[in-house]
Subunit: 333 residues, 2 copies
Amino acid sequence: MELRVQDIGEQGLLKRVQAFCPSTFASELGEALSVGDDAAVLPTEPGKSLVVTSDVLVDGVHFSDSTTPPESAGWRAAAANLSDLAAMGASPLGITVGLGLPGDVLVSWVERLYVGMTDCLRRYNTVIVGGDICRSPVITVSITALGQVDPTRVIRRSTAQPGDAIVVTGYHGSSRAGLELLLHPEVEPELEGRASLIHAHQYPNPRLDVLPPFPCAGMDSSDGVADAVLQLCQASGVGARLDRQRIPIHPALRNWASPEQAMQWALYGGEDFELVLCLPKESAQELVKQSGEGSAIVGTITSNPEVRVVDSTGEYSDQILTLEEGFQHFKSE
Amino acid sequence: MELRVQDIGEQGLLKRVQAFCPSTFASELGEALSVGDDAAVLPTEPGKSLVVTSDVLVDGVHFSDSTTPPESAGWRAAAANLSDLAAMGASPLGITVGLGLPGDVLVSWVERLYVGMTDCLRRYNTVIVGGDICRSPVITVSITALGQVDPTRVIRRSTAQPGDAIVVTGYHGSSRAGLELLLHPEVEPELEGRASLIHAHQYPNPRLDVLPPFPCAGMDSSDGVADAVLQLCQASGVGARLDRQRIPIHPALRNWASPEQAMQWALYGGEDFELVLCLPKESAQELVKQSGEGSAIVGTITSNPEVRVVDSTGEYSDQILTLEEGFQHFKSE
């Protein structure tokens, strides 16, 4: 029987499709694979490289009117792509927006989507530079973000060194918790900080504001802390030791969910769009100060290739992280 | 009642969406409008500008297994975007490919799509530099092409001058005729040149090979000769006089269809992906020589703003062209 996309999943398909890209550029397509970076880097002139990243978002898969008003869907789409630029150390030049739309979509819905995108872009001093609109049976938003980076400052996944401190630039699990509150509005209507968690889901902030002024390894946490650390370790041929107690959880989430649930969402929830960076300890401490609330050193890169979560309080036994608990977009759900 | 996308059509929606782009970049989004160019131009360094163009193609709307094998769908998607670069005078740097796929699509179908794209890209010395794959209820192919151009050589729609000769770089109507033959395989199975017409539809050649070494006005003929001339005239505030007898029709199409049908397809069929350029007569003659088979001077830019098709043989009466017969992607079909 002939193989179908659902038989091999997104990662299996990406591996096959990478064969059609030059190895230098297979990285961005392989973002979800251990071989890839968050974006492609094209050397266009001495001292400056062009960075390109693409995302396709589909109604009902990546956004839904039940949890995200169109302004939020637009903001999130723009933010996810700007976060991929931040993950490469790049500053934005602009984005293109390709829209597929059924004929019965409200014009006001489309305009509200653009309001959300441009509100997000404005915060980061960038703009929509082009795009396309066409008819489609399902709303599809395809964004390509363009950025520029000094080639000596490119953040890659493959350069983490044993001994590096691992910094996360903010709270994790908040976006996933916010989604839960949106899906179940009857839950905890009086929860203190409820609005913060929902805001974290609907209007995340890509961390273009904390790009370090020196080379380091890293990526963004779009698929959760576990995925980011695992991808970094696999690409760099190293391991990591994370301290469970140091993974930053927003106070509102701490107050609401069980510690196990909060940790699960921080590790695997995704869409917090913070950066996970590996760098020498002194620089790491500096970066944590700059990155503001929630930022923390969460562990250390090790030469032993496993990714182990330890608990400095001794309450939880060690846990070995694997990629299997992460997203598998095509597998049955 | 609230407006829906189908009420205002693609052009109406593009006009509203352009309000969200800086006016310098509204051009690419307005490609289908008279205000737009085929791509956005971003000045990134002295002496070189970045050119960006996006397209979204949807199964059943822009391609179909009934007329295009996946290799051809891939080739056409790549060719359409490279043609937009050619229309701006730009040389390609690479493309990104965002794919939305239902789980039951054959893996071999996806691989054949990439074979088609990369075959086309290879012919023009360029590559896939990134992309994304996600689940979607309908196959969607979103391409963003990146190119570079000397800012003094950008081809724009708005600079046509009265007296300029209008050059088309090859035959028109062939792609539409090829589609007809694919849709109706029972028609003219013995037609001489049948394979050429089908090839023109399935594997069009963007004209990156004939970019003139001097500034000129122009665009590509992705929506037909009539659309191209009308868009150029509207953007430049001029008119045109076209000679019906000079619009180049492939011999196979001449032999098969009535002159009226062939002319209709040449003017409105689209997807021939040739260039339509406006330039002084001597340069135009030079360009025609370089562009090879089918290339011709088809008329002249006039200060009178109407676009008139005259017949030098006197057989047909004059015809005034309008945009209304062109594509309206969202309107009822």
